[in-house]
C-alpha cells in the first residue's frame, strides 16, 4: 500500500491494464462484473488524488520521475496540476458508467471488449498525467489502438471506414507533433547542452517568435494541428460524426466524454506554455475558427436525420466554445473553457447513453422512427429532458457556467466574435429542442414504439450519477473552480507574459539534471 500512495499516478495509470490482463484469465461470463469492479476501485483510488491535491501547492503535484531512455533524454515523468486533476477524475468517473451501460449492449467477444476498454483507460489517464512530451506522445498514440478496435469490431455497418478515418486523421496530426517534439528536444540540447523532452525543461527553451512563419509559430502550428484534429476544430472535424455514428454506445461515450478533451488539454499543457508569442499571433485565427465551429456545428446538427450524428455535431459546436475560451487568453475565458470541457464531458455522454438505450430497444437511430416516446417511457423522458437542458446550457445546469464564462472571456478578448459565438446559444436551443420534440412529443405514429418499456434499474443506475453531476456542477461550480484556479492563473500568466515562468515540482522528484 505504501508504494501506492507514493506512486499514486503510476498505479492509477497502469492499474486498469493490470486488471484487464488478470481479467483475461477469468471465464467470459464474469468478465463484465470484473471490469465494473476494477473501474469502481480505480474511481475510489482517484478520489485520493482530489483530497491530496492542494490548490495553493506547487504547480505539478504527485510527481514521479524515473529514467526511461537516458540516451535521448526521455524520462518517465508524471505529475498533475489543477486542470488535469479534474480531467483524470472525469475519466475515472465515466468508466464505471460506460461499463455498466454496455452490460447487455455487447454480446459477442465480450472479454476482448472489456480488455480494450481498460487498456483505453490506461492510455487516457497516462496522457493526462504525462509530464514528458515523449511519454505524452506514446500514451496519445497508444490510446488510439483500443479505440480503433472498439469502433472497428463492435461498430455499426460502415464501422471499418469510420475506424480507419478516425485513426488516420489523428495519426497524421500527431506525427507532425512528434517531429515538433524532436525539434524542441534538439533546441534544448543546443541551448542547455543536454537532451531532454521533459516538459518543464522544454518550457525554458527560447525560440524566436516574431512573425507568422517563425520557428516558434511553425512548431506551434504542428502542435495545434494535432490538437485541433482531436478537439475537433472546424475544418478538420469530419471524422467525428462518422466515428460517433458507427461506434458502439460505450465507444462514443468515451470518445465524446474524454478523447475530445485530450485536444483541449493538449493546448493547455503544450501549445500555450511552449509557444507564447505564437499563441498571440494566431490568437484571432483560432478564435474565428472556433466561432465558425460553433455556428457551423449547430446549423449542420439541425438538419441531421440521425440522432447520434446530431449529438456528434453538437459536440463540434460545444468544443468550438472551448477553443474560443482558451484563445481568449484571460482567466475567465480559460477557466470557462476548462469548465466547459468538464460539463461537456458529463452532458454529451448522458445524451449518447440515452440514444444508445433507444437504439438497444428499436435498433435504429433515425429521428423519424420515433415520436411520442414520453407517453411510453416517462422516466426516460425526464432524463432526456435534463440532458437536453444541460446541452443547451440552461442556467442551473453545468453547461451554462462554462458557456457564460467563455462568452464573457471572449467578449473581453474580441467583442465581434463574442456576438457571433453567442448566437450559438440560440441555435443550440433550436436543434436540441427540435430533435427533442420530434422524438419525445407528438402522438405515437409508429406502433413499434407502443411496446417500448421504460428504463430498467440498471439503466437508471447508469444515468443517475450523470444527472446528479449536471446539477451539482451547475449549482456549486466553485467546488470545481477552487482546485483549478491557480493552475489556470499560471497558464494565463505564462502565455500573457510570453516568456518563461519557473515551475516548481513537488513530490519525489529525483531530477537528474
Amino acid at each position: 500500500m505504501e508504494w501506492m500512495n507514493s506512486h499514486l499516478l503510476s498505479t492509477l495509470t497502469f492499474f486498469p491494464l493490470f486488471w484487464a490482463v488478470l481479467g483475461t484469465l477469468l471465464p467470459v461470463r464474469v468478465s463484465k462484473h470484473w471490469t465494473l469492479a476494477g473501474s469502481l476501485i480505480l474511481f475510489f483510488i482517484s478520489l485520493k488524488l482530489y483530497w491530496g491535491f492542494s490548490a495553493q501547492g506547487a504547480e505539478f503535484q504527485f510527481a514521479e520521475s524515473v529514467e526511461w531512455i537516458p540516451g535521448l533524454g526521455v524520462n518517465y515523468l508524471l505529475g498533475i496540476d489543477g486542470i488535469s486533476l479534474w480531467l483524470v477524475l472525469l475519466t475515472t468517473f465515466l468508466m464505471p458508467i460506460v461499463v455498466l451501460a454496455s452490460y447487455d449492449g455487447v454480446e459477442e467477444r465480450e472479454k476482448e471488449y472489456y480488455t480494450l476498454l481498460m487498456a483505453l483507460q490506461t492510455g487516457m489517464i497516462g496522457a493526462f498525467v504525462a509530464m514528458d512530451s515523449f511519454l505524452f506522445y506514446v500514451f496519445w498514440e497508444a490510446m488510439l489502438i483500443p479505440m480503433y478496435f472498439l469502433i472497428g469490431i463492435w461498430g455499426g455497418k460502415e464501422r471499418i471506414y469510420a475506424a480507419m478515418k478516425f485513426f488516420i486523421f489523428t495519426m497524421v496530426g500527431s506525427l507532425l507533433m512528434l517531429v515538433a517534439i524532436f525539434f524542441l528536444a534538439y533546441q534544448h540540447k543546443v541551448q542547455f547542452g543536454s537532451f531532454s523532452t521533459a516538459l518543464i525543461d522544454l518550457y525554458k527553451v527560447k525560440l524566436d517568435g516574431a512573425g507568422y512563419f517563425s520557428t516558434q509559430s511553425l512548431l506551434f502550428l504542428a502542435f495545434a494541428l494535432a490538437f485541433a484534429i482531436k478537439v475537433p476544430l472546424f475544418p478538420v472535424h469530419t471524422w467525428l460524426p462518422d466515428a460517433h455514428v458507427q461506434a458502439p454506445t460505450a465507444g462514443s461515450v468515451i470518445l465524446a466524454g474524454v478523447l475530445l478533451k485530450m485536444g483541449g488539454y493538449g493546448f493547455i499543457r503544450f501549445a500555450f506554455p511552449l509557444f507564447p508569442q505564437a499563441v498571440h499571433t494566431y490568437q484571432h485565427t483560432f478564435m474565428v475558427l472556433g466561432s465558425i465551429a460553433i455556428v457551423y456545428g449547430a446549423w449542420v446538427a439541425m438538419v441531421q436525420p440521425d440522432m447520434k450524428k446530431l449529438v456528434a455535431y453538437s459536440s463540434v459546436s460545444h468544443m468550438g466554445y472551448v477553443v474560443i475560451g482558451l484563445f481568449s487568453l484571460n482567466a475567465i475565458g480559460s477557466s470557462g473553457a476548462v469548465y466547459q470541457m468538464l460539463a461537456h464531458g458529463i452532458s454529451t455522454p448522458a445524451l449518447f447513453l440515452l440514444v444508445g438505450m433507444l437504439y438497444e430497444r428499436r435498433h435504429t437511430k433515425e429521428i423519424k422512427e420515433f415520436g411520442g416516446i414520453t407517453k411510453v417511457m416517462p422516466l426516460f423522458a425526464i432524463a432526456f429532458m435534463i440532458a437536453t437542458l444541460a446541452s443547451i446550457a440552461l442556467p442551473g445546469t453545468n453547461g451554462f457556467i462554462g458557456e457564460f464564462l467563455i462568452l464573457l472571456g471572449t467578449w473581453k478578448a474580441n467583442p465581434g466574435l463574442a456576438i457571433l459565438a453567442t448566437t450559438g446559444v440560440i441555435f443550440g436551443a433550436v436543434y436540441m429542442l427540435w430533435m427533442f420534440q420530434r422524438v419525445m412529443f407528438g402522438p405515437i405514429k409508429n406502433d413499434l414504439n407502443k411496446k417500448l418499456k421504460d428504463l430498467s434499474v440498471r439503466e437508471m443506475l447508469v444515468l443517475a450519477p450523470l444527472m446528479i453531476a449536471i446539477f451539482w456542477m451547475g449549482i456549486t461550480p466553485n467546488f470545481f473552480f477552487e482546485k483549478m484556479e491557480t493552475s489556470v492563473a499560471r497558464l494565463v500568466e505564462r502565455t500573457a507574459r510570453a516568456e518563461i515562468v519557473s515551475t516548481a515540482m513537488n513530490g519525489d522528484v529525483q531530477r537528474n539534471k
Binding site: G71, V138, A142
Partner: protein, 502 residues
C-alpha cells in the same frame, strides 16, 4: 618481383587472441560441413539430424559472438578482417535470422514436400557469407562474401523446382544480382587503381592524408561500389527485382532474404560508406552533391515503397514493398549519420528491430500459407482473429511495430532514427518521412481490419494447428518487439557502443 620474395611470417600464424575472435566462425563452419556430410549419409535420417546440428551450431555461434560484443577490436589476417563489437552484433543478427528461418521452414518444407537437407546447408552457407560481409575490411573479400551469400540464396529462391514462379524469380534474381556484383567489382577495380589498396581503412587513410588522390576515377569507382550496394538493399532505381523475387521465393526464404541479406548488405555498406569519406573528407562540392543524390533516393524509396504497397493484395508482395519503404528510412539514417551525435547507431538499431519484426511476420506467413504459397492474399486472412487469436495478436503486434506505433520496437527505432536526423538538420526530410509512414499506417491497418473486423469466408476447420517450434519462434519475436519498444534504452546503449569503434 621483389614483393613476392618478402613473405611476412606474422601474416600466416594466428595468435591465440585472434583465434578466440574467430570462434563463432569456426562453430558455424563446422556445423555447415557436418550438415553436408549428414545430408549425404543413408544411415541417419537426414531431416532431423541436419536440423539438429544446424541449430546447435547456430546456438553456440550466437553464444560465442555474444561474448565478443564488448570485446575491443582485434585485426585478423593482416587487417583484412576485423572482429569488433559491430561484427559481433551483426553476427548475432544473422545467426538469429538463420535460426528462425530454419525453425519456420521445418514445417513449411513438409507441407511443400521439399524436405531436402541441402536446404539447411545452403542456408548455413549463406549465413557464413553474411557474417564475413559484416567483418571484412577488404574490398575483394567483401565481393567474395557477397557472392557466397548471394549464390546460395539464388538456389534457395529457386528451391521449388517444379513451380514456374519460383524458377522465374531465381533466374531474375541471378541475372540482375550477377550484373550488380559485376558493377561493384568494376568499382573496386577503379578504387584500387586510384588508391592502390584494397583495404577500406587504408583507402580512408590515403584520401584523408592526400586529398589530391580523389581523382574523378576515384569518385566513379566509389559511386559504382555504392550503386552495387544500393542494388543489394533495393533502393528505388534498383529495386525492381525485389517484389517479383520475394513473391516467387518460398516464404521462409523471403523472410530470410528481407532480414538477413538486407542487414548484411547494410553492414558492409556502412563500412564502405564511411571508408569512402562521406561526410568528413570529400571536398564540399562533391559532398553536397552526393548528399542531394542520396536525399532524393531516400525520399523516392520511401514514397514508391509505401505507395505501391497500398495497392497490393498479396501479403508477401506487400511486405516486399514495405521493406523497400524501410530501406528508405534506413537511407535517411545513413544521410543523417555523419551530422548527428549518435552516428550510425540509429541505423544499426533500426536494422535490428526491422529484422525482428519481419522475421516474426514471415514466420507467421509461412505457418499460414497453404501448399505452393497460396492463401496469402488479404481476403484469405479475414476472420483470422476468431480462428487463431494468438497468431493474429502477434501479427497485429508486428504490423503495429512496422507502422511505428508506440509501445513497439518499430516505433522506438523509428523515433531514434528520426531524432538523430533532426539533429543532422534534415528537418524537411524527416517531415516527409513521417508523412510517408502515415501512408504506411493505412495498409498495415488494412491487414488488421481483415484479421479482426471481417467475418471469415472459409468456414472450414482451422488451418493446421500452429507447429510448436514455429509458435515458439513467433512468441520470442513478439517478446523482443515489445521489450525493445517499452525499454529501448538498453538496445540504444548497445548500438552506441557497437558503432563507436567502426
Amino acid at each position: 618481383m621483389e614483393a613476392l620474395k618478402v613473405v611476412d611470417p606474422a601474416l600466416l600464424g594466428l595468435s591465440s587472441e585472434q583465434l578466440a575472435a574467430l570462434v563463432p566462425y569456426f562453430w558455424i563452419l563446422g556445423a555447415t560441413l557436418l550438415c553436408m556430410i549428414l545430408s549425404v549419409s543413408r544411415v541417419i535420417p537426414a531431416k532431423w539430424s541436419v536440423f539438429g546440428v544446424g541449430i546447435a551450431g547456430i546456438f553456440f555461434a550466437i553464444l560465442s559472438s555474444a561474448g565478443q560484443i564488448t570485446m575491443h577490436r582485434t585485426d585478423l589476417f593482416g587487417g583484412m578482417m576485423v572482429a569488433d563489437g559491430y561484427s559481433a552484433f551483426f553476427n548475432i543478427l544473422f545467426l538469429g535470422a538463420a535460426g528462425l528461418s530454419i525453425f519456420s521452414s521445418l514445417k513449411y518444407l513438409d507441407k511443400e514436400g521439399l524436405q531436402y537437407p541441402e536446404y539447411y546447408v545452403l542456408l548455413l552457407f549463406s549465413t557464413i557469407g553474411m557474417m564475413l560481409m559484416a567483418s571484412t575490411l577488404d574490398l575483394i573479400s567483401i565481393f567474395i562474401a557477397l557472392e557466397i551469400m548471394s549464390l546460395s540464396v539464388y538456389i534457395l529462391v529457386g528451391f521449388r523446382r517444379n513451380d514456374r514462379r519460383s524458377n522465374e524469380a531465381a533466374m531474375k534474381y541471378f541475372i540482375l544480382g550477377a550484373a550488380a556484383s559485376a558493377i561493384l567489382l568494376y568499382g573496386t577495380a577503379l578504387l584500387y587503381g586510384s588508391t592502390g589498396t584494397f583495404l577500406i581503412t587504408d583507402i580512408l587513410a590515403k584520401i584523408t592524408t592526400t586529398p589530391s588522390l580523389t581523382t574523378p576515377v576515384f569518385h566513379l569507382g566509389a559511386w559504382l561500389v555504392i550503386t552495387g550496394f544500393l542494388f543489394k538493399i533495393a533502393s528505388v532505381p534498383f529495386h525492381m527485382w525485389m517484389p517479383d523475387v520475394y513473391e516467387g521465393a518460398p516464404t521462409p526464404i523471403t523472410g530470410f532474404m528481407t532480414t538477413g541479406i538486407k542487414a548484411a548488405s547494410f553492414a558492409a555498406f556502412v563500412r564502405v560508406f564511411i571508408a569512402l569519406g562521406y561526410g568528413k573528407d570529400l571536398e564540399a562540392a562533391v559532398q553536397g552533391r552526393l548528399h542531394d543524390v542520396l536525399w532524393v533516393l531516400a525520399l523516392a524509396t520511401m514514397l514508391i515503397g509505401n505507395l505501391i504497397a497500398l495497392t497490393q493484395t498479396n501479403l508477401k508482395r506487400m511486405l516486399a514493398y514495405s521493406s523497400i519503404a524501410h530501406t528508405g528510412y534506413l537511407l535517411v539514417g545513413m544521410i543523417a549519420a555523419p551530422g548527428s551525435e549518435a552516428g550510425f547507431a540509429p541505423v544499426v538499431m533500426y536494422l535490428a528491430s526491422y529484422t525482428i519484426m519481419n522475421l516474426g511476420a514471415f514466420a507467421i506467413l509461412s505457418i499460414l500459407s497453404g501448399k505452393g504459397d497460396t492463401g496469402l492474399n488479404l481476403h484469405d486472412l479475414s476472420g483470422l482473429a476468431k480462428r487463431h487469436p494468438w497468431l493474429s495478436f502477434s501479427m497485429a503486434v508486428f504490423l503495429f511495430s512496422m507502422a511505428g506505433i508506440p509501445p513497439t520496437a518499430g516505433f522506438a527505432s523509428k523515433y531514434y532514427l528520426l531524432y538523430s536526423a533532426i539533429q543532422a538538420g534534415e528537418v524537411w526530410l524527416v517531415v516527409l518521412a513521417v508523412l510517408c509512414s502515415a501512408i504506411a499506417v493505412y495498409y498495415y491497418l488494412r491487414v488488421i481490419v481483415y484479421m479482426y473486423m471481417r467475418e471469415s469466408q472459409t468456414e472450414g476447420g482451422a488451418i493446421n494447428i500452429t507447429p510448436a517450434l514455429g509458435a515458439f519462434a513467433v512468441a520470442m519475436m513478439v517478446a523482443m518487439t515489445l521489450q525493445i519498444g517499452i525499454l529501448p534504452s538498453k538496445m540504444i546503449a548497445i548500438t552506441k557502443r557497437v558503432v563507436a569503434k567502426i
